[in-house]
Structure formats: structure tokens, C-alpha cells
């Protein structure tokens, strides 16, 4: 099988890999929307969506009712509805940009996935090789660069809709995204100061960050969330703001903006924005997991290589790769659950509070944090 795979042209290999990753992300983004509704329901002491079921599935004894209670079929029917309902194009919009905006949103959201490693396997020499679509050395920089282009989708959508609520929504959203991007970017600098040891190769690769969290020894095996709690916290808060999640969902703000920047959208174009939002969440959670939660290492001080050694799986890279992907996805879904949990706990901030928190709260905090860590790292690694 491996020989057949390597005999394929590189182009075909990359295409299959890319489609496989998108084929995983699209359903996860959809499932997140159902998880969102279920978590919301459970927190509010409701059972949540639990009705839809195809009539023939009712005959499956235990699994049928269980899946029905989980609302799996609601998810499918919602997705199908989005595909098949009429796609309205209001007469007052700027048509080219109106259609372009959701395409931009979803393209950028999926592009960031390419540089995020999502698992690892052990090669014949016992080295950990990350699984990713494009192993570029600029890693985190590529994620930030592409993800921050996402603000153009919001601006395009809000402006081309030629309507006041989308316009206000997109202005708010772009101001918020730009404000919190600073804190987000600065908060990860201590991590990269720490992993770029003087004399070694300079790197911004996310896989290297995980490698650094799976070294031997007390300090080596410690996840960066314990080593740099302030960075992790600020990164998480800024991530909430960047993905437009409550308590920072100024872009939508249903009570005062109807639906925010996508008020005029419907059907599949709206669904694309939706998928883009959840993909941003997914990629954001993945980056948080890689940077601060040890990536695919099962527990602090237990690296993937050790774990595979205990299970006696060094010789089977496919099994190790699967286990690493499961561990990694588990952590990512945990972070996504945190997103939902916080959403139903913390009420929305006012716009001025968001700006105040961003500019005079988080930004000085991360700059101070950076200075402290830069000095400490300079002393330790000199």
C-alpha cells in the first residue's frame, strides 16, 4: 500500500491528502453546530433537538433511538436544507462582491488548515514525523497571515450588502478583529523565543513547538500552558474575539444588529459563512492545542513516542498516526467545548468594554508578559 502511495505523482498525493482533510473538517464544522445546540440545550436544562429520524432508521433497535436523541438527523436535514433551499440574491446588493465574500471566507478558513499539523507517526528511525499538508517553516506566521485576511470577507459582506445592519456589523467586527490580533500575535512570542534556542535553527513551525513539549525531564515534558499561563490565557481570550464567539460576538450581536454582517445572506452562501466560522474555531483550537496543550502528546510528561513504546506500536506508523490524530482531535474538541461552555456562561460585552479590554487590558498585559519572559529566557538560555 505504501509503495503504491509513493508511486503516485506528488500532485495527486497532495490532492488526495487535501481532500481528505477537508472531508474531515467540513463534517466536524457541521457537527460542531449541532454540538453547539445540544450543549446550549443541556446547559439550559433542555434535551435539545431530538426528533428527526428517517422512518427506516427507527427499526434499528438501540442505535436508532440513541442517534435520534443525539439529534444526528437534525444535523443532516439542516445541511440538506441549506443546499436545496432557494438562494436569494437581493436586488440592492453589489452582486460581484456579495457572491465573492462567502467564497473568500471559506477559502481562507480552509487554507489555514494546510499548515496546521494534526498528528504524528514514528518513522523507522524512531523519530516523530508530524502529519500535515504543507510542512512549511513559517508555520504560525502563515496561520496568522491567512486567518487575518478573513476580515476582508466580513468587510466585503457587510459593504456589498448595501444595508445598514450588515454595514454596522462588519465595521464592528473588523475593528474588533484588528484590535485583538495584536494581543493574539504578541501572546505567542514567548513560546517561540523559548523554542528558538541560541545556536539552533530558527523556526516558527508548529510541529517544533510540540516537539519541545515532548522532551524528557520535568521542564521538558511540561506543557506550555503551565510554563506560560498568561500567554495561554491571553491567547485564548483573543481567540474568542478573533473567532467572533460570545462574549465577543460583536459581529453578530443579534439584539442590536439583526444578524450582523451576514444579515442579507441566505441558503448556501450563509452556510459557507457558518462553516467558515466553525473552521476558524477548529483551526484556532488546533493552534491553541499545539502551542499550549502539548499537541498529540497524551499527557504532560508522557510523549507520543513513550506512549507508543508502552503499547509496543513503534513498528506500525499507521496505528501510531491514528492514535495521535485521535488524541489531538480529542483535545481540539475539548477546546471547542470550552468555546460553547463559555458562550452560555458569559454575557456579551458592550462594544466600548471590548475595546477597553483589548487595548488597555490585554495589550499592556501581553507586552509586559513578553518583556518578563524575554528577560527570563535570555537568562536561562544564555
Amino acid at each position: 500500500m505504501v509503495e503504491f502511495w509513493t508511486s503516485l505523482p506528488l500532485f495527486v498525493q497532495m490532492l488526495i491528502k487535501g481532500l481528505a482533510v477537508i472531508g474531515v473538517i467540513f463534517p466536524i464544522a457541521g457537527a460542531s453546530s449541532m454540538a453547539e445546540r445540544k450543549v446550549a440545550a443541556w446547559i439550559q436544562n433542555r434535551p435539545g433537538p431530538n426528533r428527526a429520524i428517517p422512518f427506516w432508521f427507527r427499526w434499528v433497535p438501540v442505535i436508532g433511538p440513541f442517534l435520534q436523541r443525539l439529534g444526528i438527523f437534525h444535523l443532516m436535514s439542516d445541511g440538506l436544507k441549506m443546499l436545496f433551499k432557494e438562494d436569494p440574491l437581493p436586488g440592492h446588493v453589489n452582486k460581484v462582491y456579495f457572491i465573492l465574500a462567502p467564497i473568500v471566507a471559506v477559502t481562507l478558513a480552509f487554507t489555514t488548515v494546510a499548515v496546521v499539523p494534526f498528528g504524528a507517526y514514528l518513522n523507522r528511525g524512531g523519530q516523530v514525523v508530524p502529519l500535515m499538508l504543507a510542512n512549511v517553516d513559517v508555520g504560525i506566521l502563515a496561520v496568522f497571515a491567512v486567518a487575518s485576511l478573513g476580515v476582508y470577507a466580513l468587510i466585503l459582506a457587510g459593504w456589498s450588502a448595501n444595508s445598514k445592519y450588515p454595514f454596522l456589523g462588519s465595521i464592528r467586527a473588523s475593528a474588533q478583529l484588528i484590535s485583538y490580533e495584536l494581543s493574539l500575535t504578541i501572546s505567542v512570542l514567548p513560546v517561540f523565543l523559548w523554542i528558538n534556542i541560541p545556536g539552533g535553527d530558527g523556526t516558527l513551525s508548529l510541529a517544533r513547538v510540540v516537539e519541545f513539549q515532548s522532551r524528557a525531564g520535568f521542564w521538558g515534558g511540561l506543557w506550555f500552558v503551565f510554563l506560560m499561563p498568561v500567554s495561554a490565557l491571553v491567547f485564548l481570550v483573543a481567540l474568542f474575539a478573533e473567532t467572533n464567539r460570545l462574549p465577543f460576538d460583536m459581529a453578530e450581536g443579534e439584539p442590536d444588529l439583526v444578524g450582523g454582517f451576514h444579515t442579507e445572506y441566505g441558503a448556501f452562501k450563509w452556510a459557507l459563512f457558518f462553516v467558515a466560522e466553525y473552521s476558524h474555531m477548529l483551526v484556532g483550537s488546533a493552534v491553541f492545542t499545539l502551542l499550549f496543550l502539548g499537541g498529540w502528546n497524551p499527557l504532560p510528561w508522557i510523549s507520543l513516542a513513550q506512549f507508543a513504546g508502552w503499547l509496543g506500536l513503534e513498528g506500525s506508523p499507521i496505528l501510531v498516526g491514528t492514535i495521535s490524530i485521535v488524541i489531538f482531535l480529542g483535545k481540539v474538541l475539548g477546546v471547542i467545548f470550552l468555546f460553547m461552555w463559555v458562550r452560555w456562561t458569559v454575557p456579551r460585552f458592550r462594544y466600548d468594554q471590548i475595546m477597553k479590554l483589548g487595548w488597555s487590558g490585554l495589550l499592556p498585559l501581553v507586552i509586559g508578559n513578553l518583556i518578563v519572559y524575554a528577560l527570563a529566557i535570555a537568562l536561562i538560555q544564555k
Partner: protein, 179 residues
């Protein structure tokens, strides 16, 4: 009694929001696993409290006599004019012939009814009651007009033991002016 609320300045911990957010997360975490309060309607039905005013219905007395004497007071009092009664005579050879009248037709248009209960209030014979029926649906306007047979089906029997008309007849036969 008016009183002044002390507004102490926020402490540093409070100004970071974090302890409050963690406290809130704890609360919502508990709710995540607490029993659900939803009543899953078609499978589970609500318990109707006493005194509930549902769909108006007609009742019979324990002997099976229809209590309505078609005096039409409910028809006159009905604010949205939902009730329509066609009075009819009771045949002279019937055992309850002394009641003289009974409704030939009794229609309540549930599209008009406002569930005010004035018909029940005004009825001198205790023949019409707003009962527990709360779920009402139909495929046409005609489906939502309750005719006499449907009204008795919904209403059932009122277990009162007045037997007013039997006593009246007994008094009449005994030659008393009053029962």
C-alpha cells in the same frame, strides 16, 4: 423601606473578570448534568390543574338526560358570538317531557371562542362547562366547529345529584306548588 446600597470599588481580582467567569462556568457545568425540565409534549402530557378552563363542553346528568334546556342565555352572553343554538321541543311521550325543551342543534365555533367562561357562568342549568380539553386542531374551518354530539362526547356526565326536573315533576304530580 429605601436603603443605600454600598458600592465598594471592585477589587483587582474582580476587575480581571476571571473569578466571576470561573464561578459562572461552575454554575453552567452543574446545569449541564442536572435533570432536564422539558416536557416532551406528544409523548408526555401536562397535568391539568383544577379550575382549568379548556374547551367548552356540554354535560349530562347521572341519569343520562342532557342538561341543556336551550334557554339560549349562553348564546346571548357569548362575547365573540361563538355559540349557535337551535331550540327544539322534547316529545310529549318522553320520560323527561316536563323539561319541555332541549337543543336540536348546539354549535360552538372554536375559531371564535375566546375561552372567557361566561357561558359556564351564565348557565342556569349547569349544563355547559369549560373542561380539561386543551388540544384542538382540524384540517378545515368546519372541523373546528364543535357540534352537539361532539360537545357531549367531550363533556361526559356531571356527577351532581340535584335532579331538579325529577323533583319538579314529583311535586307537580303530588299537587305541591314547590318541590
Amino acid at each position: 423601606m429605601p436603603y443605600v446600597v454600598e458600592r465598594t470599588p471592585l477589587t483587582f481580582a474582580e476587575r480581571t473578570y476571571l473569578p466571576q467567569i470561573l464561578g459562572g462556568l461552575k454554575t453552567t457545568w452543574k446545569h449541564l448534568f442536572s435533570p432536564k425540565v422539558t416536557l416532551e409534549y406528544p409523548e408526555e402530557r401536562p397535568t391539568i390543574p383544577p379550575g382549568y378552563r379548556g374547551v367548552p363542553t356540554l354535560v349530562k346528568d347521572p341519569n343520562g338526560r342532557e342538561k341543556c334546556v336551550s334557554c339560549q342565555l349562553c348564546e346571548f352572553v357569548c362575547p365573540p358570538k361563538a355559540i349557535r343554538i337551535t331550540p327544539g321541543a322534547i316529545p310529549a311521550d318522553a320520560p323527561t317531557a316536563n323539561v319541555e325543551k332541549a337543543p336540536q342543534a348546539f354549535d360552538i365555533d372554536m375559531l371564535r371562542c375566546i375561552y372567557c367562561g361566561l357561558c359556564q357562568e351564565v348557565c342556569p342549568e349547569e349544563a355547559i362547562f369549560l373542561q380539561n380539553q386543551y388540544s384542538l386542531s382540524g384540517y378545515s374551518r368546519g372541523d373546528l366547529v364543535n357540534h352537539k354530539d361532539r360537545l357531549y362526547e367531550l363533556g361526559g356526565t356531571l356527577p351532581d345529584l340535584h335532579f331538579k326536573w325529577d323533583k319538579k315533576r314529583a311535586a307537580e304530580q303530588a299537587g305541591r306548588a314547590q318541590h
